[in-house]
């Protein structure tokens, strides 16, 4: 008998005496994250329907495989073989480790999935079901300390996805100065990703949080203050940017399959 049922503690047989619907939040998080994981897995392995008329899905950008459509690559650069050990490698699988790693090690998502998937704990003051707990002190969870490296990789991806959004301001003939619903979708998606990265706790630390004397670094202090403001909404940016990326991919896929027509404003 451990935890709240330890011999010296008040003898209460319930795991929790909370009377509110504490399970709703983790249940919703579980449902949404699981849906995203299933959809992202399907798309990552699909290996098709990721490009149409200067619109490229964020799941497939940068497209680095020899299997990529030539127009979906960055200046034709395809350093990765289309097959590894006779296994046809979808271009998405090459790059998804970076956004996946960034979100898996994100301090906000950690809270979400520790609560909703691992139930450690499922909610505050609700006893967890595990007998032992070592937190993030051992492998594999000690890898969470690499969040800053995924943050740096995420910045590179943000630049590329912003480039994709800019490229989408072309019409199917390749002429600049045209805007479609797809351009808007990619622009919103990449902007949300910038907000998600800029509000990141590692960003806050790197930009000034590690300093002891702000007064000696007034510029970094100012930047830290701005990032701290964004950091208050990191949770919101995490969800909005996830939804933005998912919708951008769905939109490009629908356009690529011909199910939807990409409407041009001008």
């Amino acid at each position: 008998m451990s935890g709240v049922f330890s011999p010296t503690r008040a003898k209460i047989k319930e795991r929790t005496l909370r009377t509110d619907k504490w399970w709703i939040q983790p249940a919703i998080t579980f449902g949404v994250l699981l849906s995203f994981v299933i959809y992202a897995t399907f798309r990552a392995f699909e290996g098709a329907n990721y490009y149409k008329d200067h619109l490229i899905s964020p799941f497939y950008s940068p497209c680095l495989s020899e299997a990529c459509l030539p127009e979906a690559t960055i200046l034709g650069w395809t350093p990765v073989s289309a097959e590894i050990f006779n296994f046809a490698l979808s271009p998405a699988l090459i790059i998804l480790i970076f956004p996946l790693g960034f979100r898996m090690t994100c301090y906000y998502y950690r809270k979400s999935y520790y609560r909703s998937f691992w139930m450690s704990p499922p909610a505050c003051a609700v006893a967890e079901p595990h007998k032992k707990y070592t937190g993030e002190t051992r492998f594999p969870l000690i890898i969470q300390n690499s969040h800053r490296y995924f943050f740096y990789a995420g910045l590179v991806l943000n630049v590329i996805l912003t480039y994709d959004a800019v490229i989408s301001f072309k019409n199917p003939e390749g002429e600049w100065g045209h805007m479609s619903v797809g351009s808007l979708v990619l622009l919103v998606s990449s902007t949300l990703l910038w907000f998600y990265s800029a509000s990141c706790h590692s960003c806050r630390h790197t930009i000034g949080g590690r300093l002891k004397n702000f007064s000696r670094h007034p510029v970094r202090y100012k930047l830290w203050s701005w990032v701290s403001v964004l950091n208050h909404s990191h949770q919101q940016f995490a969800w909005y940017s996830l939804a933005g990326v998912a919708f951008a991919d769905i939109y490009v896929r629908q356009v690529a399959t011909g199910a939807w027509t990409n409407f041009y404003f001008f």
Partner: protein, 252 residues
Amino acid sequence: MARKINLRIWRGDATDGGLQDVQVEANEGEVVLDVIHRVQATQMGDLAVRWNCKAGKCGSCSMEINGKPRLACMTQVAAYGDETITVTPLRAFPVIKDLVADVSFNYKKAMEIPAFEPPKELVPGEARMQQIDVERSQEFRKCIECFLCQDVCHVVRDHEENKKSFAGPRFFIRIAELDMHPLDTLKNRKRTAQEEHGLGMCNITKCCTEVCPEHIKITDNAIIPMKERVADIKYDPVRWLGSKIRKREGIV
């Protein structure tokens, strides 16, 4: 306007105990501590409850109300409507009697945290620093040591065995307060936070922040920044190399 409310109070000690139902009068604007005192005065003369300021500043009346760690003096009865209000002692600590828990674990942990270490040459009264250098630490000074964060933290609440190696959120904000202080010179504060006080056990579920009556952003402003500082010295080879080349810890 007075009305009758249903109250369930945990009564007992470390050997045995249980929840007892009582009906008690509650007046408009009263807090849970008021009705507990009325029960004590009219129905349970030997009911043990710890309290002091009744203003949310001493941290004495910490208990669990409908399963959530709260200050009884800051919890409005009206917030529960017609619902039965269940009050128990803090469930992360040994019970002494009724609503009083033994929180001495926290005082032992407090003694394990190395104290502030100013520069040796600094004469008392001569310390000078700018407001922007100390404002981060000042947030943590709002702590009233109610230990609700310690109570709700699942690392010790659900795992008694972790109490040996885990200081808890209250003391992580103490460590952060000192590590961020411009005049603190103790070198190994980050390393000991991880290796001796169990910072790595925290998995950022933010319950400590949710229950803090002083609204200190314990996780975002203390624990995560400390985890990042620990990553600087223990898990970031580039930073480690930089510190060796430039002979500094990156804390100027």
